[in-house]
Assembly symmetry: C2
């Protein structure tokens, strides 16, 4: 049975066919690898832009990581053939390419490694992958055990395809000095400027081994022959690799060991795989990782991921899967985002800031740096750019060249959350220049000006222009003619203004606070006047004045974000709230979560845009887009609908049972950016995971668990403790660190309780309020609630 093991720090999948595309991932600040249970891999590193070191058999177009990535036999992967030389049988670990029926299969991704255990005909293969903390390389160990009592003659052949990297120059050879296969190439280019830009590129991909191979092969076709990857001709009939090179032939790293293993004995191997610029770099990496203490490498990497990414919360709830996800996998995913910026040099501004929102609970000082860096690229007008450049040589690329209007909102939300979590108001006095004006201004002024810009970029109704998209990138044709407005952005701006008004008021700037409150209220009034249609809020108004996302629409009838943020900004009164929630339940809620809109578009709508051209149920076109679902959950907690809120959050977490894993096609190790929606239109495919772990979702979910479900958040100089625990939970205990203090909280329900009460160190705290937080102190908190 698939299950969490090792106290939730590792998962166990026992069947390579249950969810063929399921995977775990590892990363460091320079690279990332998504390792599929069957042996396929998607990996990339920064050089300085994202690059790959193992390729398919053709040169792929540069794309971001693709949702629902499909694997196929020649997809890059890491494979280990084992041939029994007495019986002639062949299998491969972990499963591909041979796909032999295995006696035992275990794919066990952990927090800081990915391992497999494979058994077949008395042979056990144990594989494990870890990454170094600071280098681009994969460190593999393989242990081959003879499980029988008689000796076994085995041939062991690691096969790491490298693929088609270049039409200009590619090949490969075995380097005896390095004891490594080197696949060499020259990155293709035509313009001379590019030659100079390419100088630093790591155009070698190598596989170095801890033991000298008996044979090797570098030409993939020579290896495959007519037998193909499933039964390579080079391994047929007891044959051995021909010690061949690849001369402008697709190279692969293939080595052969002929082993005689006594009964019960094992043989151990280590491999290092990755890109390098030259032989010297390979040699240095070998010294560090192949010749060095591998246990130290493991410990260091574990420390990076687990200690480095240690968070402020440990929970113990009746929901074991929830506990494992929240205690281990969710903060891990949040840390991945915050520490790597998704391995891009120009993160979208909204991603950059929301990833920092999650990082608040792990390394608040990193979030502080993000806020300062983001405003340093703000325009003096207050406008936030579409992307934030992380290096001097970075450029705004792809979607960051399309004008979006929402970026200021995330600055406010992240800054407000930063102040709550840290109490560090000194950030507001930091002086930072503008991208187009060297005269510095305080961060306080930067943030206020972002809101002034938003307040000014409105049409004659006072609703904000959407230009070529707001939070929703592909909603690019609502306002491209310069007139269309975003209902969601009106709500989000109002919410942000309210948040910032609170900060200004607390700081004593009543004038700005008052103006912001008045603007926020005015937006609410306009939203209710122009966008409430039937039983819910429309999503926006097109260039031609058409309100969309309304009951009259056959497709895209109801958009989740327009409802969630109406709750967050306070636009919806109780009656409207009830009607909205009913509509959402009826039209958007599915067994796999809440859809972003419905019905999914099945044809282009030219006054909405590119989103309507996406496949129905995929991404913004009606999937369970978890980022939007997280906003919805946040809005539910905001209005005290905690059971609904929890259900929305919980639906994002795959359950560790065969049915849910098979339906979603992923393991519960991360929250993906979406599960396939269009549940009412295309039920066969609904629920499928994108298997993309890059998503703004996780910051919101983690924050909600901490600040809403567990309910411990900073507030001014003190804290508020106000758990919103699912009504089905009778108990909950957790430890929350906040501003240097530790809160040990136990929650329980009792029949004799009328309303929730909070006791801090035995003292009843009215409204759960703690006036001041003492750093270093441990608070004992008991929360009692009605059953």
């Amino acid at each position: 049975m698939p299950s969490f093991i090792d106290n939730g720090t590792r998962f166990h999948l026992d069947d390579p066919t249950l969810a063929p595309n399921s995977a775990g991932y590892l990363w460091n600040r320079r690279m990332m690898i998504q390792m599929n249970s069957r042996g396929y891999a998607v990996s990339q590193y920064m050089d300085p832009e994202p690059r790959k070191y193992a390729h398919p058999p053709i040169i792929p177009a540069p794309t971001f990581m693709l949702p629902e990535q499909t694997y196929y036999p020649n997809h890059p992967g890491r494979f280990f053939y084992v041939r029994d030389n007495d019986t002639g049988t062949l299998f491969s670990a972990p499963y591909e390419p041979v796909r032999a029926r295995l006696d035992r299969f275990a794919f066990e991704p952990g927090l800081s490694d990915i391992r497999w255990l494979i058994e077949k005909d008395g042979v056990r293969v144990e594989l494990c992958l870890v990454l170094p903390v600071d280098d681009v390389a994969e460190l593999w160990t393989a242990k081959i055990t003879n499980m029988t009592s008689a000796p076994k003659k085995l041939t062991f052949v690691p096969f790491f395809p490298v693929g088609f990297s270049s039409w200009m120059n590619l090949g490969g050879h075995f380097d005896a000095d390095l004891n490594a296969v080197l696949c060499t190439s020259v990155t293709p280019y035509q313009k001379i400027e590019q030659y100079f830009k390419n100088q630093h590129l790591k155009d070698i991909t190598f596989l170095a081994a801890s033991r000298r191979p008996d044979h090797f092969e570098v030409g993939q076709q020579a290896f495959e022959g007519e037998g193909g990857l499933r039964a390579p001709s080079a391994l047929a009939d007891g044959g051995h690799l021909r010690d061949g090179e690849a001369y402008y032939e697709i190279p692969a790293c293939i080595m052969q060991w002929d082993l005689t293993i006594a009964g019960g004995e094992s043989e151990d191997f280590r491999f290092l795989f990755g890109p390098a610029r030259d032989e010297a770099e390979i040699s240095a990496l070998k010294t560090r990782y192949l010749d060095g203490d591998i246990e130290q490498v493991r410990r260091d990497y574990h420390a990076y991921v687990v200690e480095g990414g240690r968070s402020c919360l440990k929970v113990q709830s009746p929901d074991e899967t929830f506990n494992h996800v929240v205690n281990h996998w969710l903060p891990r995913q949040v840390f991945y985002h915050g520490d790597t910026n998704r391995l891009t040099t120009d993160p979208q501004t909204r991603n950059y800031l929301q990833d920092a929102l999650g990082m608040l609970f792990i390394r608040p000082e990193a979030a502080r740096a993000v806020i300062l860096h983001a405003v340093s690229q703000q325009h003096v007008s207050g406008k936030m750019p579409d992307g934030i450049l992380l290096r001097p040589d970075a450029e705004l690329k792809y979607i960051n060249q399309v004008p979006h209007t929402d970026h200021g909102v995330w600055l406010v939300i992240t800054a407000k959350a930063y102040l709550d979590e840290t109490g560090d108001h000194s950030i507001l006095d930091e002086m930072v220049a503008w991208t187009d004006d060297p005269a510095p201004a305080s961060v306080r002024e930067h943030i206020t000006r972002a809101l002034r810009f938003l307040a000014a970029a409105v049409d004659e109704r006072g609703l904000p222009y959407i230009e070529q998209g707001d939070w929703c990138d592909p909603m690019n044709m609502v306002g491209y003619k310069g007139k269309g407005v975003s209902g969601w952005l009106a709500e989000a701006s109002s919410h942000a203004m309210s948040l910032w008004s609170e900060v200004c008021a607390a700081e004593g700037d009543q004038e700005t606070a008052g103006w912001l409150k008045a603007e926020a209220d005015a937006l609410v009034e306009r939203i209710n006047r122009h966008l409430w249609v039937g039983d819910w809020y429309g999503r926006g108004i097109t260039d031609d004045g058409v309100v969309f996302g309304v009951p009259a629409d056959k497709e895209g009838r109801i958009f989740l974000n327009a409802q969630s943020w109406a709750l967050l900004c306070g636009a919806a009164d109780d009656d409207r709230k009830a009607r909205m929630l009913k509509a959402i339940d009826e039209q958007l809620v599915t067994p796999y979560g809440v859809e972003i809109q419905a019905p999914s578009f099945t044809a282009m709508r030219e006054d909405i845009g590119r989103l309507t051209q996406k496949w129905p149920g995929v991404a913004e076109n009606g999937s369970v887009y978890n980022h939007a679902a997280a906003f919805y959950a946040a809005s539910l907690y905001h209005v005290g609908e905690s059971d609904r809120g929890f259900n929305v959050l919980r639906a994002m977490m795959t359950n560790p049972d065969r049915e849910d894993i098979a339906a979603r096609g992923q393991l519960p190790l991360y929250i993906p950016n979406y599960y396939r929606g269009a549940y009412r239109q295309f039920p066969r495919t609904a629920g499928r995971s994108s298997n993309l772990f890059n998503t703004g979702t996780v910051a919101w979910v983690y924050r909600m668990v901490i600040e809403q479900l567990c309910g411990v958040r900073g507030d001014g100089k003190g804290a508020v403790i106000a758990p919103q625990v699912p009504s089905s939970w009778q108990t909950l205990s957790f430890t929350r660190r906040l501003r240097g203090a530790t809160f040990n909280v136990t929650f329980s329900r009792d029949d004799g309780i009328a309303e929730q009460v909070v006791e801090i160190d035995g003292q009843r705290a009215e409204g759960g309020r703690l006036a001041g937080i003492e750093a270093g102190r441990i608070y004992d908190v008991r929360v009692k609630a009605p059953r």
Copy 2:
């Protein structure tokens, strides 16, 4: 045994493993398909830029057609599974993906179709592909025959994978009305401008059938299952396709027929495969090609390729392969180039003009139009652009954005050849504007000015600047700093000036003729002064004043072009010629032809450029680059070295025997742009064909066969008949059409003859000269030569 059949109009390959990448190709003016013997396909069409309608499982980077294209199991192809429902055995025609051992295999590409005959266990499958003349579609026929006397129950499953076309939207379904599988997609884009540009794209790929299938499948993964393409799970255990759709899943066109075929009987099928914009287009194509008279489609297409591309020469030599190539396959390849412009909207100027050079012998009026169109994009300075735009919306792309200096040369060579072939001097009086000056000038002036521009773009030595390349695109760093010069271009300019000087003189413009002759001579003097080093000519002089391609160079020691064009321009005296030829024989001649330079570079040389970064022995870095070899052959004929010249030409033609086909990896149906070189450095891979049939080679080879080997060319108002027949040939007869006349020529060697004599209609013609050509007349020509 592999062999030509049907009088050389078809080839027969009997083994799918002999040359796994060997292929035939078909085209029309809108599309091209290179069909591999095993079933893989590379195809593209114009929309208006080149696009594909069948994709690999990932989105490939846009590249030109790749040399030595590798195939792999999930590569696009056209496959037909056959399952014997009594025995359960499965095979696929033509060979992939099952790779079953076949009883009989015949891959038989013809001039205007590609067909296979496969036999396995009493079942025969006959496949044939033709194209329509004017539409983008593949028309397939399949005939399944029960070769036994008892009835057979067979399941027949065509499988046409469509692959991953779009991350935005892809899927597919069976359309019962159209009786077709439609794989739908939306071409990915992000910027709004692109939406409007994409409106016309044919985003559907369809497979329509002549018969209603019993079952179908559109999801490739559902078809493959764990069995993979070699043993699809959907076909295992007597199962049938599930009639499934693809919902954002990689689609494929898969249909199933369950057949009971009586002994000796057959079943026939027709299929139409291709791209379409909408259902109406599919319906129209079906009406035309599935419901229509297929024999008429075949005849029309045959007429397009064979009648439309009918050439001016038929030869009968003792060399049968030579005859087949020259009579059928070479003019076919020449016509392909000239009629399609290689399916690009911005051909490189040198390609555009040289392709027209070949077209002279097929449709001279097309060559005339090319010359006029090319000079209409010439700058008033005389400079020719890097590419010629064929449509108003075309743009100079890729390599055409890099400045090259040779384009004027090809204008002169093609124009001179046009005048020789047609005698049509009226073209010189055509008035054409410049790209940057609306005031028209005569074509005569255009051409002269191209030479004036070349004559002026020289350094202080009077040698022409190379900028970022001459004929050799990747020789991009010899002169990028603005100082380096091209030795080859000096020779080519001198040659072009001499040619044009002749034309000017014949036209009575002695002043221009004299100036040109003086310039040509001056260049020769400079070439000999600056570039002759040791025993051959250097290729150029770098920005730093270093002559390269000289004996002191360890790599790139001798460049073929620098020698060939020294012969063409008359720079080399007899002594130098002899020393050059010896050097070429020793350093460049291989069993597969003459290398473009040697030794191949194994490391970057920064004062030469990108060519040194290509894999050694590939393309410009030391392959048998047939275009350069053709120049060499031309120079040999030019100086009367006809046996050497013939050997160079003949080495380009693959022999129809197992050894040569296996070594080169191609069939003798076209001359590829290169065979792998670096013969002395990497002998294992030497001789391998690029399998690219786009090459400027063929125009030159065809012209040489006609004008030099057969030796009949126009000259002023008359003709010259001066065959340069290989000394090993005792006889040769051919028919040559020229300016409306027909020359029936028989050549023979005789012991009693001292020197070659030509008799026209029984009259001895001094120097083989015919003063005037009478259109419509048939000349009987006898040439007698010494044995």
